[in-house]
Symmetry: C2
Subunit: 750 residues, 2 copies
Amino acid sequence: MHFADGAPQVNGTGQTEYGKSVVEGLKKEEQIEKASVQKLSEEHDLVLKTFRLLIADLCQQFKGGHPGGAIGMAAIGVALWKYVMHYAPHTPTYFNRDRFVLSNGHTCLFQYSFLHLTGYKAMTFDQLKSYHSDRVDALCPGHPEIEHEGIEVTTGPLGQGVANAVGLAMATKNLQATYNKPDFDVVSNHTWCQIGDACLMEGVALEAISLAGHYKLNNLTIIYDNNQITCDGSVDLTNTEDTNAKMRACGWDVIDIEDGCFDIEGLVEALNKARASTEKPTFVNVRTVIGLGSAVAGNAVAHGAAFGDADVANMKKMYGFDASQRFTIGEEVRKFFEDLPARGEEFVQSWEKKVRAYEEKYPDLGADFRRRVEGRLPENWKELMPTKDALPAKATATRASSGLVFNPIAQACNNFMVGTADLSPSVNMIWKGKVDFQHVSQSRLHSQGGKESGVKGTDMYKPDLKTTCGITGDYSGRYIHYGVREHAMAAISNGLAAFAPNTFVPITSSFFMFYLYAAPAVRMGALQHLQVIHAATHDSIGMGEDGPTHQPIELANLYRAMPNLLYIRPGDSEETAGAWITAIEAKHTSTIISTSRHTLPQQPQTRRDGVAKGAYVLEEAEDADVTLIGVGAELCFAVDVAKELKAKNIKARVISFPCWRLFEAQSLEYKRDTLRKHRIPAVVIEPYAPNGWERYANAAICVKRFGHSLPGKAAYKFFGFEVGTMTTKVSEYLEKIKADDILRQEFVEL
Amino acid sequence: MHFADGAPQVNGTGQTEYGKSVVEGLKKEEQIEKASVQKLSEEHDLVLKTFRLLIADLCQQFKGGHPGGAIGMAAIGVALWKYVMHYAPHTPTYFNRDRFVLSNGHTCLFQYSFLHLTGYKAMTFDQLKSYHSDRVDALCPGHPEIEHEGIEVTTGPLGQGVANAVGLAMATKNLQATYNKPDFDVVSNHTWCQIGDACLMEGVALEAISLAGHYKLNNLTIIYDNNQITCDGSVDLTNTEDTNAKMRACGWDVIDIEDGCFDIEGLVEALNKARASTEKPTFVNVRTVIGLGSAVAGNAVAHGAAFGDADVANMKKMYGFDASQRFTIGEEVRKFFEDLPARGEEFVQSWEKKVRAYEEKYPDLGADFRRRVEGRLPENWKELMPTKDALPAKATATRASSGLVFNPIAQACNNFMVGTADLSPSVNMIWKGKVDFQHVSQSRLHSQGGKESGVKGTDMYKPDLKTTCGITGDYSGRYIHYGVREHAMAAISNGLAAFAPNTFVPITSSFFMFYLYAAPAVRMGALQHLQVIHAATHDSIGMGEDGPTHQPIELANLYRAMPNLLYIRPGDSEETAGAWITAIEAKHTSTIISTSRHTLPQQPQTRRDGVAKGAYVLEEAEDADVTLIGVGAELCFAVDVAKELKAKNIKARVISFPCWRLFEAQSLEYKRDTLRKHRIPAVVIEPYAPNGWERYANAAICVKRFGHSLPGKAAYKFFGFEVGTMTTKVSEYLEKIKADDILRQEFVEL
């Protein structure tokens, strides 16, 4: 096996020679000198001891943190960072690097310490020691954070990382199917996901595991730190399932490692086998001991507390270290890791060379690939959206408007990966000629070319999934059937988005109410500054018969308050266009576009650029008596009530208010001019819990109880959202506050 | 087998003779006349056809709804309601009834139609026909609702019902272990959970399935309507796992039914076998055809749309029915179900007789059982809580205060089932002598008495789970290790609470931030008016090092807006007592008690009865310049800032404001007296997104971005929550508004 470009040698299974040598060296002892085996074994022993004591010291320093898991996983880390993973410490953003996700994020010292040892420049020794300090600029927060060098995703809430890893692996598959050529594997990376016992209990992980098995993501490996301990005690208190059998049932290969605390060779062999898998994702079940070497080894106490000075000193003595020294990393250990930055740069240079040759041979595809690597959309994306004139004049549900304005963009711009939690018929996210993301047999690929990076022929990505309903697809597809897995959908989308900045822009879609299922992942997307766009339909009691379980009342309150998330309720097709433009331009922010199930009239005065301001005046009236604030599906009510009020000689101006957060970002002057709240009272019309509208309105026609199962129109009527009723409420309110000055200053629910 | 009390005969496995007869009759044909087999088969055929046409008509009437699943499940329904389930149509609240949960709630017509056919009085023919009508008092909402006769839980958001059913089955187990005696099985019911393909994809169901297997809930059966169709098409688009193998790996028995559309006999046999299971919950995998008989049979279109007049007419012709007639239920079909109300009353009377005899033989236990059946707490529960004087004067974390005030009550009152999502060391919910809820071998029970209802000896519920950490338990235990399964924890708790009103009062516990994982189930509890109390700790940036993924910023906004949910942030031990009293007294409302990780000083002026009012004046100051609103973990800041302001000659009054919803329920007069917002400005201090405080305050010292990983004190400092900084902010604000009248009317973030 030989690569002309001088890259670290990778064999047909993607296994590095580094990994091969340690395995074969130690397995076939007759072929090499026993002395070198002995030496390597001693080196490993020293590295493991050093690492474990380092973790113990780092927690002991500020008497807190999570030592146990990191200590138990030491051998896994050595296998990964020294032998198995392809990465570049001095070029952390190397595009074709393996992605590593620490789903059990509380063991972050595991990752931080290896980042330090392998030479990531930002992770200086001082920085490493900042864990649990009050240093405001620390790179060692209590859970890994995407902002920092060498961290792929922010984790912490358990289970999320598993779904993120599935998204990262899907990203690779899609890029490979889109760009790789028989002689050019410009994308070939693997995704490694480290988990603990808890991740296997969380629903979001179980959803993602099921989907990864379906997609046959052979480029994904879960490494299970099976220490059988969680906070409450041993895992058998609450989980006695046959995990391996469950994983196999979900379509995964399983490899067991019995001595996970020490068996680096076995781990390397297993992980390389996982990388070489051709048909399935791999689950490596690694038995470890939490807090190995400490007095609380194997005990839940080792999970989330420092061991105490005496125990740490004792560990050091037992390991033959000087108990009076802290943070000891000997020269031999430094040496053990010192080749890694250079190896990493070889990866980078080899890849860059390959990409240049690729661009030469395939200039169009090469330019497109470069664009994706740089996270740019095609320049003309905005022109693909119909203008206001080109949108239908007839009443249209804004969920349909979403399709009208966005489908042409999704079709033309391959950054967008569009998925749905089994609501394709409802969410209108299918574009003409869409191809589903589905698996393609790797054995077929191999039979055609010997390895993924050397496939021959052009039909290599033809679909081989024969579904009962006849819809198929392949890995180049950009439409994702997530199944009824809302939470995994959003978390997987975070993984897609995290692959590289804006290389993918994931779209999720479901009923708005089910974004409560997805909420923890929506939050993680916003927190990580990931551009993920959530197309949420059926966003009011107007959705009707499905009743209170499907009618959002309080959910907007969560998303309007969530930092770095734009929650936008457009009122007609034009505003829906504005919502999508805003979302697509928000490169570091997540957005929910919240649309109606039912048809809404087109408002002549709506403006897509008004949406970008969060709120704008739709109908001005000098010397107005009242401002009516209309929102989303109920914007038309505000317009109609204003008309009715006019008949009663009450002058109403109308504001359209699709997004609080965008409005807050405007100048004080713009806000005051728009609201005029200090001069005339404002009434908001929205069938949600009103909390927070107090900032912009003096009164609300709102809903403070759960909904009611009725046809949409009847539901609106039941809750008083008829134009006549609302008009009366507003005019009576205006009368009342004339007589009651205190009431004028209070917020009133009408 | 003979029961003296004249109840429907139940054999050793709990199988009714009704069920037995149909199975044995049809299997052992030589023993009975072929003619009667033929007759029964013809009856079944007619019932199935009638039922399927009824569903088609009910959807066609208003041209909407979900016909396909209900039609496909017809035979399952006949097996359940005619032969297998123990229930009483004329006494729907019969305590020992089997519980039926329709987790695929969109197929609600399935349940409504059987409620009608089996004689539930409320479900008149007219009511049945109200499905999708605009009748405001309809008993046929788009998903089943707990308020209505014969419905055990509200379902709709998929997967929830599975977890609810696990809770219902756990309730039975706990009552059995607590009250049953060898000669008295006062509780012996089974829980049946109907699901579709989607429920098996949802994380909440997967979490609950894993836990049910661990608990060996042999009194729980999932019936899987395996039609391999969801909205997007065939299930193999997105799920190709080996479901049976997965269920077995999770500790479930699996029974396959190949011809689920017609094989009533096979279904009855399978369901009776499931009821008779001694060691495991049972998963009955029933192959059906969605929309059987319609032109769209087996197609996703059959899921959520009426078939159209032509197709419905065609179905009728094919079935030999008059196509011009709608809603046909022939006399023979009525007759088929007519014995069920009387059979039900026999169940009721037999059970009541048994309970009377039980009360006679075991008067103390009998009285306790009666109390539980009636959903009452022991009278003295409030006295068990320490008075303010008896609470420690030293600074205490309110999560610890929660334990101090509630543990004695949990210990003494067996209504409380207290669980945690693997945070026992953090949430302080363990009382002295607590026993864990864990499984007990049914085979041991059986070997001692032949059947559960006839067990001998007193050690029958001794623990047989040998955990690695040594903690065991039994079914009488009331402390639940839910594992790291927050969503299932809350949904299972809804099931416990739904068993019978207030017979169980479930407590959940976790970090507040993880109640975002649990949110869909918390919502369902509130929506169903279930009393579930959620003990949420680590509720502010003060929780520290775990960082932004664990620091709530926007979550309170969701819960403060959620109808029928009390979100309470107590400020010290006394207020924590008030929060628990309020929660325990709220019989039809869910509560979140939101507490601190870190210690808080005890405030001399706090009052537990103040909490019940939502907000109250802590420190009054006549002619005050400003009102400071303190909340929860930051109440102490408001008190301290008031002191500092005094030194600057600024008079501040202090309000403690633990709960918006409770405050909103007070009189206008009380609210105005407390707030005085129309006279002096108010500033709220809370490190959350401020949205909604605008109603009560004019300015906020708040946080609008995600948190930061720092030790608690440093985190507060980082975000400006130091007394000096806050004092300056308030005084500067007061200066500013003197000069700017518009600003005085606006909400200002300081």
